[in-house]
């Protein structure tokens, strides 16, 4: 057996354990749990609330847009923080590289702003 493959053995064990439990627990709950009576349990809300409308209804997209913007800023921060830590070592090269990145990023932000994504109503 290759040494390199042995190094990955813990991962394989972890995957094995993951699969084992993923199969074990649902099968335990199926075999040991009480069998459901019919119709009422199949309703969307077992509490008795009446379901209204269909599952595929239109959602307000503005939450999604804000979430996407949040991810962009998040990634931005992830890149900015290590750069700030290593600022002196990276020197002018790092500064220029980060400036190019920030210009592109801000351009994208400005475009998004102009397109009215940030307007809530």
């Amino acid at each position: 057996m290759d040494q390199i493959l042995l190094d990955y053995l813990p991962i394989a064990v972890l995957i094995g354990i993951g699969i084992f439990f993923a199969v074990l627990l649902p099968s335990l709950s199926v075999s040991l749990g009480p069998k459901p009576p019919k119709d009422r349990n199949l309703a969307p809300y077992e509490s008795g609330m009446v379901a209204i409308g269909e599952a595929q209804r239109r959602l307000p997209v503005k939450f999604y847009r804000i979430a996407v913007l949040f991810i962009l800023f998040d990634v931005d921060i992830i890149l900015l923080v290590p750069w700030a830590v290593a600022f002196r070592k990276l020197g002018v090269y790092g500064l220029v590289a980060m400036l190019i990145f920030m210009v592109m990023f801000i351009l994208g932000d400005a475009w998004v702003w102009k397109k009215g994504v940030l307007e809530w109503e």
Binding site: I4, L5, Y8, L107, K114
Partner: protein
Amino acid sequence: MEFVTPTINILIVLPVLLVAGGGALLMLLELFMAEERVKQWAPTLAIIVLALAFLQTIGLWGQTHTTFTPEGSSPMVILDNFATFLNVIFLLTGFFTVLISVNYLPRVGLNRSEYYMLMLFSLSGMMLMGMANDLILVFLALEVLSIPLYILAGLSRPRPESEESAMKYFFLGAFSSAIFVFGIALTYGATGSTALPAVLAGVSNGGALALAGVAMMLVGFGFKVAAAPFHMWTPDVYEGAPTVVTAFMSVGAKVGGFAAMLRVFVSAFGSLGQTWVPAVAVIAAITLIIGNVVAIVQPNIKRMLAYSSIAHAGYILMAVAASVNSPDGVSAALFYMFAYLFTNLGAFAIAIAAERKLGEGVMLDDYKGLAKRSPLLALAMAYFMLSLTGIPPTGGFSGKFFVFRATLEAGLVWLAVVGVITSVVSGYYYLRVVYLMYMYDGEGELHTKPALLTAVALTVLATLVLGLLPGAWYEITKQAALQGLQVLAGG
């Protein structure tokens, strides 16, 4: 540890920067100009940017450069004839796409200003695919190529077909990217590097881990180039996306996938050839059979061309499978893609001329009587159909000839037989379009504007030249192919 600035030669990546910068410039213009004016100028600007990048690319022909070299490692970007040739293909794809989009988009009410911007961004990703010398950069380029295409596929929202197309493309693309990246991770685990020369050096000692990495990257590329059994998304995505986007991605995304696939598989994984060649050959055979046979029953021209593009991916895969054991494999693949670019974009140009409204006039029955309505366009369409079938004197014939020859040279006789038989099958659905155009009467107007006619004329001309004088062009692809592999093996 001291940080050493990597060597950077901006001139090498200037074509990519020009194309991506053109997209950024369009974004900038939108901030300061009225939207109507931006829409008016966007196609012109895109053409100018593509022309500048084209001139720069042509100027780099015959040269070999590397750039973005980190200290003590191999360069991230390599520009050799292989990359230059592919960049020419991508820039021409962009050029023809602009020509066929100029009048189509306003006509069907899709004149959104982000169209050209996203197209340019996607093009810059495609160009990087051929230039990447590091698996990380391959992945980055793949994402830059794909993400704008996901949005473009949904350009005609809120049309349900278009949204379905974007959604399917996005989900399957994301899955395939994940598999691809897993393959990169396994390869890194096996070889200790993501740089292609180091992968080449270490992959034959990588054992099962390296093989798993190769297999997963094969799946990732298979999705991108729409090879069976990873082709399921293609017909739905091609049908739902606006026709100009379909044209763009049927050529651009496919050639982009093959660009990186050739570089990674033939050179970096070349020493594992005996293992992956049978797999690629079987995938090629399945792709050929599925693409060509299922295309027969398609009533919609876009779906038909989608299955046809699957089939053509199969022919290019034949050349990929041949490229380990035959010196002609890579050049045959390059030539095939070059011919496919003109033929397929030309066929799509006519499909766009015949599309009455968004999603109307795209059935095969709508082509009835096209010969009476517009004899010249019908003639051009017939010519493209002959080229796609592979009947001389067309570029498609020359491409198939070189691919089959390379396959035979590599000793894959059974694969060549499958290729020839499926080519005969493909004649049925391609020639049916010709039959419908000439043997029936039909109604319907054609939208022919100068830009679109220019695109049709140029693609007909290029297909004819590639059909009549394939030798000179094949020499060029041969130079492109050889250099690409030599540099990597030496570096």
